[in-house]
Symmetry: C2
Subunit: 450 residues, 2 copies
């Protein structure tokens, strides 16, 4: 028989077991933190009807969609009527609109699933990746204090992930567009200026200045300079930045509304225990996506700027206007977990984990087969993840295997131990060995967990 | 703007949050049990190359495959080169062959992911569903005692799921085909007879007898009667069945090998603490799929026969012969979790869960906003999943919300409580209320967890 080469497409992350364990722990930290803050889980199907999924999008995004169809549909020469989700926001909108009558608002949901994009394959770009999203969706209205709770969740997650100092950057789009309006940028161009300003980080000052003064925008150089000075405004702390913003004397209503919102959000975040140094006003972050309307967030790892934004989001006015007439304002964030995990591995901040198997019951003598089985059952019933050696193997090889597999304890019994009702345990992490009575074995291992 | 109707395709299970919580707990029970027995997690991509995924299959299965392609590939009029996995066994074979050099054998993996089949939509038939698989893959050989460990895992899972009495049915295909050979069924037809016998349950005696005596098989009625008597052989317990099998005096080598294996496996299972009544030899289960070669399993819920088989699997000689020349024998099982969960909900055995949110911090006075925030932070830092009420709402409505949302504790503070450093807690499950000092709040809630 001719062999097929076993391979996966580029742009997917497939891990070896101990890397997978590390990844699952990473996801669990995110999940348990989301739950800690009162978010509820949902899951949606990978495939959605094409017309449902693609209402909002066009151009760039649409070109990256994967379409799907069954064998039968393909044989009949039909166009695919299904598509794979490319984010979790559109499915959330569909979910909320579809189940509106059965949900309690404000609806706080978390969702951690894979999404699909036909990206050009290159290092660190994924065609299949986990997104870990939270959103709070209100009906008709949603108090501003929710905008302040989200960065507290981000703060808690990144503290728990233990990746060193990080910064949640916070801004308000009303403040931005209000300032642009005050400088004479018309309503039509305010969003476009925002989008250009958002590129400062990647493209640099010259590019943005040239664009804004050039064809299409045609803003006076003086105006552009004011905009540049504005987005770079900094201060010793958030209070100082807010003071400077006040002192600008901008009369525009949008600007004032944005300033009031930003002030309230920042104060609320501090009251929840987040140090100012971890959540900073940054007037240069804007989130290019059109649907944000107020508060916006971006998060970066201070010691690893190359990783880029690790968590971003913001406030939007209406989640599901393509599906329902109800007004559903919301605020949320997304963590691209696959890319982040990959980057953290690359930076050496995360590596393969200890095994989820805690104990290996070794096998010294075939005659004692049932004894090993009973010890394994004892450990498992006691809540210790346990692997049992099957078949005949050299003893030294078994202990070596435990070590290589990242299993901490080798449980050892020969005739002598069995006769005395004792067990020998080798702790491969601490490099020590101890004896314990059978009935004390589970506790002995659990006590060492700490 | 015209609205798009929010809807999902038929054959997917989408849950409301409290049902989703119940489903996640259900999956967690399976996951933690798999880990308890020393299995390691892997995940594979949803999409695989078409030629990699479809080496083994044909006919019925191939017709149910979903194909996928990116927008770019579709626009160029190309055939889809990708397909969605329809089970977790083919991806496992590909994974093991691809990463063979980096894995430690015997390789014990668990995998809990969704799979896709273009099933005709009907109640309880899913096009997207979770499979929860474990397999142990050996290199060149795999001790028989692994065949005995698998039913112990099944036993533990179904005990923990608490779905009433269940039975793991166990059989051995060598025993079956050996018996058929002894009756004069030629090698070519043995597997086909097995497949027909496997339908006894659904089609009944008459159908099977007619088929085996009819065209295609043409077996003498006497032979068919012997086969029917054999597959219905029963006894007071497994030892009694094994004794009867011995007493049949079948000389065939395959039969004898199968009998030896079945005897060893059954003894081993009993030694691991599984009562005979929960794991029974059943000579009528055969698992229609061709790749099983020895031990086979099927599991049923005694009080809910309509649910059908809830977990099945078996031993196979060579996992990945389409991808590698290495010989990789294995044994494993699969739980179709989506269908099972749906059936259990339908039978009233599972319903929506209590919320994963444990405490709701209510809001009596806007002036105390920061106090509520601090209490929420205190609870969250202490490990209690906590939701905080935002904005102004009637107090009675807040407590009612907690009740409706399945949140157990309403945490209440007015001016008096704040002045005294106390908190009032309403336990909505027990219908009682207590006061506690702030610093004792977390412990008070944790102690009531039991």
């Amino acid at each position: 028989m001719s062999l097929t080469k076993p391979r996966t497409m580029r742009g997917v992350m497939e891990l070896l077991p101990r890397e997978q364990i590390a990844f699952q722990r990473f996801l669990d930290t995110i999940r348990t933190t989301y739950e800690r803050f009162g978010f509820l889980p949902i899951e949606t199907p990978v495939m959605e009807y094409r017309d449902v999924l693609l209402t909002k999008t066009g151009g760039e995004t649409e070109r990256q969609v994967y379409f799907a169809q069954s064998t039968g549909s393909m044989e009949q020469g039909r166009e695919p009527e299904l598509a794979l989700r490319f984010d979790l926001t559109v499915p959330l909108a569909r979910y909320v609109a579809e189940h509106e009558g059965k949900l309690i608002f404000p609806f706080r949901r978390y969702q951690m699933q894979r999404v699909y994009r036909g990206e050009n394959a290159q290092k660190g770009r994924y065609r299949e990746f986990y997104q870990c999203d939270i959103d709070v969706i209100g009906k008709d209205n949603l108090p501003l204090s929710f905008d302040a709770e989200i960065p507290v969740v981000i703060y808690t997650i990144f503290c728990r992930l233990n990746l060193g100092k990080f910064t949640v950057h916070i801004n308000n789009r009303k403040l931005m567009t209000g300032f642009f309006a005050e400088q004479g940028v018309d309503a039509e161009h305010q969003g476009l200026v925002l989008r250009e300003v958002d590129k400062l980080d990647k493209r640099g000052d010259d590019y943005v200045i040239t664009t804004l003064t050039g064809e299409g925008f045609g803003l006076p150089r003086e105006t552009v300079d004011k905009i540049m000075a504005f987005v770079k405004l900094e201060g010793a702390n958030n209070a100082a930045v807010l003071e400077q913003l006040s002192a600008l004397g901008v009369a525009n209503e949008q600007f004032q509304e944005g300033l009031t919102e930003l002030t309230e959000v920042v104060n609320h975040i501090r009251a929840a225990g987040v140090p100012d140094d971890y959540c900073k006003i940054n007037l240069s972050i804007a989130r290019g996506l059109d649907y944000y309307t107020g508060t916006v967030y971006e998060t970066s790892l201070d010691d690893h700027p190359g990783v880029g934004s690790v968590c971003s989001g913001g406030r939007y006015d209406n989640l599901a206007d393509h599906y329902t007439k109800s007004r559903l304002p919301g605020v949320g964030i997304s963590i691209g977990a696959t890319r982040l995990f990959y980057k953290l591995m690359e930076a050496g901040l995360i590596s393969q984990a200890e095994s989820c198997v805690e104990a290996l019951v070794t096998r010294m003598s075939d005659a004692l087969g049932e004894q090993y089985l009973r010890i394994a059952t004892l450990l498992r019933d006691g809540g210790v993840n346990t692997e049992l050696i099957h078949g005949t193997q050299k003893f030294a090889k078994q202990v070596k295997y435990a070590d290589r597999a990242g299993i901490r304890y080798a449980v050892i019994m020969g005739e002598d131990e069995v006769a005395a009702g004792m067990v020998t345990v080798k702790d491969l992490v601490k490099g020590e060995q101890f004896q314990v009575a059978r009935e004390e074995l589970v506790n002995a291992i659990k006590e060492r967990r700490t």
